[in-house]
Subunit: 200 residues, 2 copies
DNA sequence: ACCTGAACACCGTTCAAGT
DNA sequence: ACCTGAACACCGTTCAAGT
């Protein structure tokens, strides 16, 4: 059992986040519990509550880090593509790829529900909004004839669509196997949507 | 406290399903527990396990009934539309409408995860497959130049997209308010997809 | 000051014991 | 035969008590 001053508050904070990521990665959101996290870092449950407000707080912070990793990757891989349309398709691919590589941590972002009357903190909502903004920016050069409002709507519709393919695929409701099949479905959705959107 | 022979096995079964639907409808999937269901029908927890294998079994049966209601409604409302394209858009509308009217029961279909190594029963998978088949049938008259395989893929992509809009909207991640906004997003997605799909 | 360990009010699931 | 009620192994959360 770790004793006082073995680790700083910040160290315990970081240790708890990593342990949570590992537990969720291996056993999924359902397999997560405060006692498991505490046990994994060699402290008691009580200690977690000195560093986090509650389990929702801990999970939100882990989800925030997942969103950061996902966002960074989308930005980076998108830059490799020169053409606007390819960039947009790449965003979809990166999203799918990430979700298939880390299904459990990715799914927790959407499986987690705040208990009771607690509200999603603003810093978290900003991380979500940033994702949509990325799609919006990617869509702009392809939608010269559309107003900013229309582009914003189209980005939401399109991205929700990609997300839908992804979530149904990851939770095995699509009867498709392998990352490639999911990528193909996304290409079909994004490709046809773009064709329609650009001609209207 | 209800005593023996107050209700038949089938009656207890039905009472438990209705009670679950009410509890989930009011408090969401998170608010559900075996003890709450038992209390609501005037029996002890133990009694539930005489009628259901476990909580997963109970939830699957409730989700099955939800899928049945949703399917029946989609079939019925679709029939009102004469044109093929309108029929397909109507399917999306009915789906969204249902999800917005009964968000908690609808969401439980996707929030629920089987515990441990248990597997989704075949009768349940069939109910899911039936939904996709409905979209496939709706898509066929609009896709004369496509092969059955392409249509099947397109139906999956399209329906996943509608589902994505729906799930993000219901879980408040889209910054849209009201059913109309969600319908508009769906129309945008389906409309543009169809335009692209039919011209390719 | 930091951390523990026990407590509280909950879970899902099982099963001997009562009627 | 049907149903209970207590038990078991778990939860999230709190907080007096120890070092």
């Amino acid at each position: 059992m770790a004793r006082r001053s073995d680790h700083s508050r910040d160290q315990i904070h970081e240790m708890a986040l990593s342990a949570t990521e590992r537990i969720v990665g291996e056993q999924g959101y359902q397999g997560l519990s405060a006692r498991k996290v505490a046990g994994a870092i060699g402290y008691t449950v009580g200690t977690l509550y000195l560093v986090f407000d509650n389990l929702d707080d801990l999970i939100l912070q882990v989800n925030g880090r997942t969103l950061d990793r996902l966002y960074a990757r989308m930005v980076q891989e998108q830059a490799k593509q020169k053409q606007a349309k390819e960039r947009l398709l790449q965003l979809g691919h990166s999203y799918i790829q990430f979700a298939c590589e880390e299904p459990h941590t990715w799914q927790m972002i959407f499986e987690h529900r705040l208990t009771g009357e607690r509200e999603i903190p603003e810093w978290f909502q900003l991380k979500v909004a940033r994702m949509f903004a990325l799609v919006e920016t990617g869509l702009e050069p392809l939608a010269a004839q559309h107003s900013p409002g229309e582009i914003a709507l189209a980005a939401r519709a399109l991205w929700s669509g990609v997300h839908g393919v992804c979530i149904l695929a990851v939770s095995d409701k699509l009867d498709v196997v392998g990352v490639e099949s999911v990528q193909n479905l996304t290409d079909l959705l994004v490709g046809n949507f773009l064709k329609g959107f650009m001609s209207s």
